[in-house]
């Protein structure tokens, strides 16, 4: 079974630029999550989708972050404009198919200069 795919794996941008991350969840998983993990911290949930609807986006900084999952499968997370404090690993996870827990992708490491 293929795992959660994310791209790119690494991204370096300057502050005020925009960036987008892509995630393809495990086939059949209805729930998709985006997390932000700052160095030395645990993952922090940014947004959670159930199919193509948003379940929870209470911790998403909506003035600069946006996410979509238009067809209920893959998803994109965008930051515009980026700030220095957005430097982190952005993890995508999926859940469903009768599984007990979430499955995580490898993450995208973002550095904002």
């Amino acid at each position: 079974e293929a795992g959660v795919a994310q791209s790119p794996r690494y991204k370096i941008i300057e502050k005020r630029q925009s960036v987008a991350f892509w995630c393809n969840p495990i086939s059949g998983h209805a729930t998709l999550y985006w997390y932000q993990q700052i160095l030395g911290q645990g993952p922090k949930l940014l947004i959670q989708f159930q199919n193509n609807g948003v379940v929870d986006d209470s911790q998403l900084p909506k003035d600069r972050f946006s996410a979509e999952r238009l067809k209920g499968v893959d998803s994109t997370l965008k930051i515009q404009p980026a700030k220095l404090e957005d430097s982190a690993v952005y993890l995508c996870a999926s859940y469903g198919g009768g599984q007990e827990t979430q499955y995580f992708g490898p993450g995208t490491r973002l550095l904002v200069l």
Binding site: V4, T31, G40, Q41, G42, P43, K44, L45, Q48, Q50, V55, D56, L91, A93, Y95, E100, T101, Q102, Y103, F104, G105, P106, G107, R109
Partner: protein, 113 residues
């Protein structure tokens, strides 16, 4: 909001010994408590899930306990090996039905030969 505390310092133990990691939480007890392993540059990997009505769960060399009175979970690795060196994350699921997780900061475990 829920606050989760894990051993703040890294845990150094010798190969063959039992490692014990602590996860404490405030406020309401979760419906499920999960433990994940995270290696550098990788996403978290699920290890064990314990439900609020379970006291203990085992899987090979791993054991998790859950004490809702103390609001604490202990995670044990017996006969530890250098390959067990990683960061271990505790995560709470309040039982919304969507596997929404709140993570602790994690504890880094170093097992020396």
């Amino acid at each position: 909001s829920q606050k989760i505390e894990q051993n703040s310092e890294a845990l150094n133990i010798q190969e063959g010994k039992t490692a014990t990691l602590t996860c404490n939480y405030t406020n309401y007890s979760p419906a499920y408590l999960q433990w994940y392993r995270q290696d550098p540059g990788r996403g978290p990997v699920f290890l064990l899930l314990i439900r609020e009505n379970e006291k203990e769960k085992r899987k090979e060399r791993l054991k998790v306990t859950f004490d809702t009175t103390l609001k604490q979970s202990l995670f044990h690795i017996t006969a530890s090996q250098p390959a067990d060196s990683a960061t271990y994350l505790c995560a709470l699921d309040m039982g919304s039905g969507y596997s929404t997780l709140t993570f602790g900061k994690g504890t880094m475990l170093l097992v020396s030969p």
